[in-house]
Symmetry: C2
Subunit: 400 residues, 2 copies
């Protein structure tokens, strides 16, 4: 007897990051590999109070089955926040509650992608999106990022060449690069997409966590149709809740609802009620301010330590928000080789390779600063600097 | 501009039941249509205490990202319960926590089904499974149920004819029919499947809610390989939690884990911790006894009222557990026609049609007894009896 699995399962791999996390379980290892929020930012007491309240007042409905769309007042809250932040008019019917924005990617893949459809992602791109879309066996195309956001000349050219079904972007504090698209870049992207059928996906898990500079409106502000926004409570309330949302319209939303129903009926309703109660009884903006202060200190510390301990040839982004720094080693230096040296020094990160489609030996890597305190950041970056110096020496030697 | 959706979305329909539920929002309508547990069975106070405890003791980890597999102690609890109930040796590594067993169906479809693969379901079959599998565009085949369970002659024949990838079953208090496979029927099914590659899926949301007769072991007890069991906390703790599990082995589990990771990283971890704490601090068997007492009274009342108010030509199952009764009208009487008459009498149910593949005008229908008190059951069945008498009169008249 033998089981023949579906073809699609040959196209998708276990998350590289989750494999790395196993190496970092050793308590001596300082890890900048994960993408975990700082637990100091979790509203533990407030969640406790919210749970107590919703169960006391409405236990019978809070523990029952509910609608596929999600809890209406929570969807209204999300819609109103788009208006408050960006003047963006969104109706609650355009919001579908999902299990984090990761499930949004799965549902979008389901309703849009036939096998061998072209899709477009950023280079480097978000691993979770690569994994989620892979299940639907598309052809991946990518467009490079620069300091301003997307390389728009390359975008236009790739769109002309492959007419992708969707273009997946993370315009704010992109994962993995930390890059934020400029206002001008956003307008250009909207202009380019206006004439086309390609659906723009704007994933925004980190947008609320801006600790420098000013918020920029979603590209969707300039692009009425063929646009989907994804959001998440993971980085502003708590990731364990697995609550995010899809913002989409019309027939797209109808199809997404059918797919959501088939996938798991609806998202955890108890958690939806608890999070909504938390939002009602607390000032979310004040809560986010605390997170920003925390993360800015951690980011500043990492930037400072990189200047102190990394050799000059190494380049680093200086993100205005979010959770990641992106490091570029000198040409020809593989971050995968560096990873092995760094593990010997008891420090970990995510090498660049998995963020690219079909590329290996990349000289880039991702560092997370939100889940280490300042002492760990100093010690970890010191160790990593040592490993980088070693690997550069070896690389120079081996190319002579 | 126009969006071209994936082909698969043409194959799946909105849940018929959810459409019906809209009709039943009228407060005058007594509805036996849904499949909701009785909220009287929800452990509200206990969930409140469990949430308070896990957040007080481990808030930092309880609100953080977690592993795709699910909370290990919860998986161990589930594995041990299989042993306790059936002497079935299951390792915690064979348990994956999902968003209800509905997500289990989505993940199984993902890892097993290529377009046009044959699959086999019960006739009548569970709507949620038809919907979940439809996404993966299989060819549906069905095998009829009888009082003993599956018609094993038909099973053998269909397996020979189409060699299906999977055979989806609900052996305990089946949805929609309420039928339970006998011990002999289970053994026969195991014997027939032993020689084959078809994967047996045993979905068991109601198995714990047996209020008459004796528990029967899963078919899996007699079938080591090519077998997947699904379970759920929805009917024994609370559906809002969206917590269920898949029990599978080896390569199957590896593929399911990759699919789960891509789908939503992991299930709500806060809810997993709360439910586990509830299980630790309370006696689940005592809790289930309360649910059984409640449902047995409701079931007995509905059986009695059917005897009192339905004409003799109407047949009804008398389930030993679970949540549903299955009604068979005289030949040629359409339950869809009855539905329209019944709605005028302010009583609702689910007509048989959607539980069959490509069949209409069926003379069967599903009644739920768990979400109505005894007064509502008496009044609702009285109204339905009136509607049945009307429709039978019309049918007899029209065939003359």
């Amino acid at each position: 007897m033998s089981i023949v699995f579906a073809d699609r399962m040959n196209k998708v791999q276990k998350s590289f990051i989750r494999e790395i996390l196993k190496v970092t379980e050793n308590p001596d290892v300082i890890s900048f590999a994960g993408g975990l929020p700082n637990p100091l930012s979790f509203p533990i007491k407030e969640v406790k109070e919210a749970s107590e309240k919703v169960l006391s007042e409405n236990g019978n409905s809070v523990l029952q089955y509910s609608t596929t769309e999600g809890y209406l007042p929570l969807r209204e809250y999300i819609a109103e926040r788009y208006y408050k932040r960006f003047g963006l008019k969104v109706h609650a019917n355009e919001i579908l509650i999902t299990n984090g924005s990761q499930q949004g990617l799965d549902l979008i893949g389901k309703v849009l992608l036939n096998k061998n459809d072209n899709i477009l992602i950023e280079r480097p791109g978000y691993l979770g999106a690569i994994q989620a879309f892979s299940i639907f066996e598309p052809v991946f195309n990518s467009v490079p990022l620069n300091d301003e956001g997307v390389d728009t000349a390359a975008l236009r050219k790739t769109l002309d060449q492959c007419n992708p079904k969707l273009f997946y972007t993370v315009p704010n504090f992109q994962n993995p690069s930390g890059i934020t698209y400029s206002a001008e870049n956003r307008e250009k992207i909207a202009d380019i997409l206006k004439e086309r059928d390609t659906v723009l996906i704007e994933d925004d898990p980190y947008g609320e966590i801006r600790f420098m500079g000013e918020d920029l409106p979603p590209i969707r502000s300039k692009l009425k149709d063929n646009s989907i926004m994804l959001g998440s409570f993971s980085k502003i309330v708590a990731p364990a809740m697995r609550l995010g949302w899809i913002c989409a319209k019309g027939e797209m939303m109808e199809k997404l609802l059918v797919a959501k129903q088939a996938a798991d009926l609806h998202s955890n309703y108890y958690a939806q009620r608890v999070v909504y109660q938390f939002l009602m009884d607390n000032d979310l903006d004040e809560h986010i301010k605390k997170i920003k202060r925390l993360y800015k200190n951690q980011r500043d510390c990492m930037v400072e330590m990189i200047e102190k301990y990394f050799p000059e040839q190494v380049k680093s982004t200086k993100p205005e928000g979010g959770m990641f720094l992106w490091i570029t080693l000198p040409d020809g230096v593989s971050s995968l080789d560096l990873f092995n040296t760094a593990i010997e020094e008891n420090v970990a990160f995510v090498p660049g390779d998995p963020f690219y489609i079909n590329k290996t030996g990349m000289n880039t890597l991702r560092l997370n600063y939100t889940n280490s305190d300042e002492n760990m950041i100093e010690e970890g970056i010191k160790r990593l600097g040592k490993a980088i110096n070693e690997i550069i020496k070896v690389s120079v030697y081996s190319t002579k």
